[in-house]
Amino acid sequence: MSEWLTNWPWWAGSIGFAAIVLGYWKLMGSPLGASSSYARVMDAARDTETAAREVALADPKALEASLRAATEAEFGGEAVPGADAPSSGEPAGTARLLPWTAHLTFLVALVVGGFIATILRHGGHVATADLGPKFAGFFGHGVGAAAVLLGAGTLIGMGTRMGGGCSSGHGLSGCARFQPGSLVGTAAFFGTAVVVSLLLERFG
């Protein structure tokens, strides 16, 4: 329906990517990286005690209060110098660790973004089970296709953790800052994706 919301020309997409990469960094104080958000959320699911502490410590006032209480308990009230001094704030350029719940919010927001884009594009929303004719041509619609997605999804989850980034963390924000691990990682995942896709095309 709204053609300008479908398959943006490359230059428009490039501007969009750069705006997101730089906007994320300016807003959050750390480089964009979707796989690290998955990692933080799944680590929180595994270690709920650490996750709860992390959320508490993400609030600077709560952190300051807990540190002060611990110091007073150990050394007495007089051992807390400058207790009434105004906070000097964070040093410039220092990224404070975001709580895992903020990363979960980011992941859910990506789903919402896809929903809004579809509403804007079609004037409504229709759920379809499969991933389009090309995917169905390779893997069908049924249990086999789901098994491929589950297995390949697991490869993505493990690979991005093993390699330390994905297409956004390594590919966009890492390569843009000439990070060696990102340049090599991007070459590895892009090269492999080309080979696997060509094999699919040949034998799929």
């Binding site: 479908t6 859910v108 896809g114 929903f115 690979g159 990682g185 492999t192």
Partner: protein
């Protein structure tokens, strides 16, 4: 603390909308990029990196970032991820945006990504010796 959630929500929604409009959530378009039958998405990606480089040079002058160095997991991890991306047509961002678009099968991809991200540290401790790189974010 609340505001970091609001900021994450805003940037995530905008990223999701843009990612969908670019066509990075369309298996056919992604497959065209990887089989070099179409260069639109590849140019989108490269242009995005180039513009971001300029942006970082201008906006982040003198600021220090956590270094992403090459380690023993960089290449094997990239190979696993690349294979997964080619088979699903989705990177970790794309799989979530696909669900929002109504491509409900992508939920299985997200389940797999979450499973892999959950299991990897356990496997790493059991089989590998190099230190896990701390995440940037």
């Amino acid at each position: 603390m609340i505001s970091s959630h609001v900021r994450m929500a805003v940037i995530g929604i905008l990223f999701g909308i843009a990612f969908s409009c670019m066509g990075f959530t369309d298996f056919g378009e992604v497959h065209k990029m990887f089989t070099l039958q179409g260069f639109r998405l590849l140019l989108t990606f490269c242009g995005g990196v180039a513009l971001s480089t300029v942006g970082f040079l201008v906006l982040a002058r003198g600021k220090k970032f956590a270094r992403r160095s090459i380690h023993k997991g960089t290449i094997p991890g990239g190979i696993l991820f690349g294979a997964g991306w080619a088979l699903t047509g989705a990177c970790p961002t794309g799989a979530l945006v696909q669900i929002g678009e109504g491509k409900l099968m992508a939920g299985v991809t997200v389940l797999g990504i979450a499973l892999g991200a959950w299991a990897y540290p356990v496997l790493h401790r059991a089989f590998f010796r190099w230190p896990l790189q701390a995440c940037d974010a």
